[in-house]
């Protein structure tokens, strides 16, 4: 690279001298002038000429080297020495700049993803206590113990065995607030240990660790190419031969057919065509923009699996959001207690006793609430548990030393038990658990799932970008509507079984197909956002599947097209914004590059453009398009 710059600078100097010579001293013989220009030309372009010759021998004709060689040699032949040298010189300067830009872009992405750990401190039992040995992360098997010092990258996924510290997860999640870890916490590779020394029990080998997965994903992201990207490559393959053909026609036809047409004049125009026929600006700036968008997104903690998803995302019309785990925390908790003829504590004790052995999330929440109040010790000898799916639980238990038969469940269970609940008729959001003790109604408990703090912002952000929001949930319609109203969601479908979600998405997709405006090439896209754990079929069916909370969940990374690394739904409108911005830049580049090229072609054809303009249409446009594509990488910090 450095040598190339030196060579080009020298060629530039000779070229400048030659130009001066031409302007100021008319007495210099033509041949000497030619010699100086030729020297500059060869200095700048001998490599291009060599490549062109070699490629012709290999049978590939329309490559840039060949075009530039023909254009410049042609210019020499018709006596336009300065132009000939300029074409070659600036073509090379442009190439240099392109290389520089691509290198810079490659580097900034790798810096962005600079989470690959270099080494791990393996702890081994030695003769006199523990020994620390520095090894490469690949060599550490699962189950071994490693030491992570402050300031080091955590090399492998594991569980903290000893020590407390603060961990910076920004590289994975974009989250700037460090996380507390202590003995028993799970920690992920790629994070940075900030304050304390940690001993970590490794749970996964390096190849399966979070850091490898993410690196793999980001590096391969550019493999799933967007339609625009494929279009532009196909276009380039046609564009060059067509322009070259036009150049040939332009050089030959008018002098033969039109009276008074001068061959060298038309040849000059044709040579302009050759210079402009280079498709580089287009071909390079489009993937570079997508690459920037993907890079910017990953810095914000959003992994995009391919540029095609950015493209689809930018065309989104409907965002289907799963409720539990996406908009809500996915953790149930006891909201209110409504006892009838008993104390609040007794009601909770009875319910917890009945649900004690159930793994259902609602049962878990009852148990947790009872535990928090220190009530579990009053419950004993649980027996004869009968769990009826879709109804509730009946069981025998001793509560406060008194044996009783407890029924806890929904209205249907109460009806079966012959009990008429006296309260909780029109309860709004949440799930109601009715409790009966020894055949008499004891009241009900309201259990609800909390909305995430930024759920409202997420929905508002989507709506602001003109995207219709639909919420799908298995919850009761009351709970679903209450949440939807609070968030401002457009449409709700509740009481869905997992299979129903696919059906609903298909329905919406069919609606999009039907509602497609005439004249548009594609329908609006449907985005589905789920927690990635039990939504795999829906994630696959949607145009773009986004999984939440990808951190630590392999299933989510596998199934989704876009992974939001932390749990924040507000990242959904953010990725939408990034997608749209990237697509705008891509379109700008295409329109700009093609526009300038066509303009210069037209001006050349009618004889108004000189070769300097042609050089700009080729090299200058590439450079500007590349600079523009850098914008895709910057993501607004909020």
């Amino acid at each position: 690279m450095k040598r190339r710059i030196k060579r080009l600078t020298a060629a530039g100097a000779v070229f400048a001298a030659a130009c001066l010579l031409r302007t100021f001293s008319a007495e210099v013989p033509e041949l000497a002038e030619l010699a100086v220009f030729l020297a500059a030309y060869l200095m700048a372009g001998y490599k291009v000429l060599r490549k062109a010759a070699r490629n012709i021998l290999r049978g590939s004709v329309f490559d840039e080297n060949f075009l530039m060689a023909v254009a410049s040699i042609g210019a020499f032949c018709i006596g336009e020495y300065p132009e000939a040298v300029a074409v070659m010189l600036f073509y090379q300067v442009g190439e240099c700049f392109e290389d520089f830009a691509v290198g810079k872009s490659r580097k900034s992405i790798t810096d962005l993803m600079n989470i690959r750990p270099d080494s791990a401190n393996l702890l081994e039992a030695g003769a006199d206590g523990e020994l620390v040995r520095q090894v490469s992360p690949e060599e550490v098997p699962a189950g071994s113990l490693i030491l992570v010092r402050p300031g080091e990258k955590i090399p492998l996924d594991g569980i903290v065995e000893e020590g407390t510290s603060l961990v910076d997860t920004a590289a994975l999640t974009g989250e700037s607030v460090p996380r507390d870890v202590e003995t028993g916490s799970e920690i992920l590779s790629g994070c940075i240990n900030l304050s304390g020394v940690l001993k970590v029990r490794v749970t996964k080998p390096f190849g399966e660790s979070t850091v490898s997965k993410i690196l793999d994903l980001v590096e391969n992201a550019t493999m799933k190419k967007a339609r625009t990207e494929n279009f532009i490559t196909r276009f380039a393959a046609v564009y060059t031969p067509v322009v070259v053909l036009a150049a040939v026609v332009l050089a030959v036809a008018p002098p033969l057919l039109v009276e008074g047409a001068v061959f060298s004049d038309w040849l000059y125009r044709a040579l302009n065509f050759l210079v402009v026929s280079c498709p580089c600006a287009l071909v390079i700036s489009v993937p570079l923009s997508f690459f920037g968008g993907i890079g910017g997104a990953s810095r914000a903690g959003i992994l995009v699996k391919g540029s095609s998803y950015l493209e689809l995302m930018a065309q989104a019309k409907i965002a289907v959001l799963d409720k539990t785990g996406t908009l809500t925390r996915g953790v149930f908790h006891v909201e209110t207690l409504h006892p009838v003829n008993v104390s609040e504590d007794f009601l909770l004790k009875a319910a917890a006793a009945a649900e004690m052995h159930s793994g259902h999330p609602i049962a878990q929440s009852l148990k947790r609430a009872a535990e928090e109040r220190g009530l579990l010790s009053a419950v004993s000898s649980i027996d004869d548990v009968n769990e009826k799916a879709g109804f509730g639980v009946t069981a025998m238990a001793e509560v406060d030393g008194r044996a009783c038969r407890i029924a806890a469940g929904n209205r249907k269970l109460m009806a079966e038990e012959g009990i008429k609940p006296t309260h909780g008729e029109a309860e709004p959001a949440g799930t109601v658990v009715h409790v009966a003790v020894d055949g008499s109604y004891a009241g009900y408990i309201l259990i609800a799932d909390q909305l995430k703090p930024d759920a409202e912002e997420a929905v508002a952000g989507l709506r602001a970008q003109g995207v219709q929001t639909v919420m799908l949930t298995g919850d009761s319609s009351e709970a679903a509507h209450a949440a939807a109203q609070k968030l401002g969601i457009d449409r709700v479908d509740s009481q869905l079984l997992p299979g129903d979600k696919v059906e609903k998405v298909e329905e919406l997709l069919a609606g999009l197909e039907g509602g497609r405006e005439s004249g548009t090439k594609h329908r609006g896209r449907l985005v589905f956002v789920g927690d990635g754990i039990n939504d795999a079929p829906v994630l696959a069916r949607a145009d773009v599947g986004i999984a939440m909370g990808g951190l630590g969940s392999d299933a989510a990374i596998e199934a989704a097209d876009i992974v939001i690394m932390n749990d924040e739904p507000s990242k959904i409108p953010l990725i939408m914004e990034i997608s749209r911005k990237t697509m705008t830049i891509v379109r700008q580049n295409i329109v700009f590059a093609l526009g300038i090229k066509l303009l210069v072609l037209m001006l050349s054809a009618i004889g108004y453009a000189n070769m300097w303009m042609a050089v700009f249409a080729d090299v200058g446009v590439s450079v500007l398009a590349i600079i523009n594509s850098f914008r895709a990488m910057s993501v607004k910090e909020k």
């Binding site: 490549k51 070699r54 490629n55 290999r58 049978g59 590939s60 490559d63 840039e64 392109e98 290389d99 691509v102 872009s105 490659r106 992405i109 590096e219 391969n220 550019t222 493999m223 190419k225 490559t233 380039a236 393959a237 498709p279 580089c280 071909v283 390079i284 993937p287 570079l288 690459f291």
Partner: protein, 73 residues
């Protein structure tokens, strides 16, 4: 079966596109993709690519970009 190769010295986006098209035309290749920005070639084949196939791929690469070196990763 998926294999990834590093194309070292790949410096022209249009050439990358040409190489990609060329490799896709070869017999025995289900799909080939080149990411210009990571200089990586990924080929999908039904079975382990044979030596002849790899030679053919290399030939396509060198026809367009003689200075590029292909390395398996």
């Amino acid at each position: 079966m998926k294999k990834t190769y590093l194309l070292e010295g790949l410096c022209c986006a249009n050439c990358a596109a040409k190489i990609e098209t060329g490799i896709n035309k070869l017999d025995g290749i289900d799909k080939a993709t080149i990411s210009f920005l990571t200089s990586k070639l990924v080929i999908e084949t039904a079975e382990e690519p044979s030596k002849e196939l790899l030679k053919k791929i290399e030939k396509v690469v060198h026809k367009v970009e003689p200075d590029v070196e292909m390395k398996e990763i």
